[in-house]
């Protein structure tokens, strides 16, 4: 069982609110990722990090931002949520040389 945790699991908020999705892993992995998943669509990488103080944007443009101040923690923030941000957000981590991604259970965001 992978030790990667996401909170909240479900969030319903109004337009314009600031939200932070939390992601923590206890496996000591250097690499962490945020994917966006919509029904019937592929997972799209929106952010990744190779380690502390390292963050990069993925192939899908996103208005969200991320930070990596601690190895185990990789939060995602939306400063002003909009209905177009409604989606499931999946956090993942991996070891440096391993191709295996360990995913959290996801945070399902609904913006009204």
């Amino acid at each position: 069982e992978a030790d990667i945790y996401q909170t909240p699991r479900y969030l319903v908020i109004g337009t314009g609110k600031k939200i932070t999705l939390e992601c923590s892993q206890t496996m000591g992995h250097d690499k962490m990722y945020w994917y966006q998943q919509d029904p019937g669509m592929e997972l799209h990488l929106i952010h990744y990090s190779y380690g502390v103080n390292s963050t990069e944007k993925g192939d899908l443009s996103s208005e969200s931002t991320v930070s990596r101040i601690r190895t185990e923690h990789f939060p995602l923030t939306l400063e002003s949520a909009r209905p177009s941000h409604t989606s499931q957000y999946l956090c993942a981590s991996s070891g440096w040389s391993s191709g295996e991604l360990f995913f959290g259970e996801g945070s399902r965001l609904t913006v009204l």
């Binding site: 997972l43 999946l90 191709g99 295996e100």
Partner: protein, 113 residues
């Protein structure tokens, strides 16, 4: 542009039957092809993976078949069980451990008793 094309979108198989999911790619630089399994309410989990230097890899009831010249790979689930009911994603990347894994759109498999 979709890097990995996956079909079918959904699949219903009788218990004990064979489930087959197909994927195709264009980028010849892809060098690592994993399959992920996702149950409802859970994140995807690695099921099995293959490198292009072999044409087939088998783990229990799950087999990946790889056709490098056709740029296609498929997942076969033998003796399908109701517990296999899940969404399956194929994926590809330039190398093991690459920062970006390109996923297919997923196949929702339902195995009926």
């Amino acid at each position: 542009q979709q890097q990995v094309k996956q079909s079918p979108q959904s699949l219903i198989v009788q218990k004990g039957g064979i489930s087959i999911i197909n994927c195709a790619y264009e980028n010849t630089a892809f060098d690592y092809f994993p399959w992920y399994q996702q149950f409802p309410g859970k994140g995807p989990a690695l099921l099995i993976a293959i490198r292009p230097d072999v044409s087939e890899k088998k783990e229990g009831r799950f087999t990946i078949s790889f056709n490098k010249s056709a740029k296609q790979f498929s997942l076969h689930i033998m003796d399908s069980q109701p517990g296999d009911s899940a969404t399956y994603f194929c994926a590809a990347s330039g190398r093991v451990g690459a920062n970006n894994l390109f996923f297919g759109t997923g196949t929702r498999l339902t195995v009926i008793p």
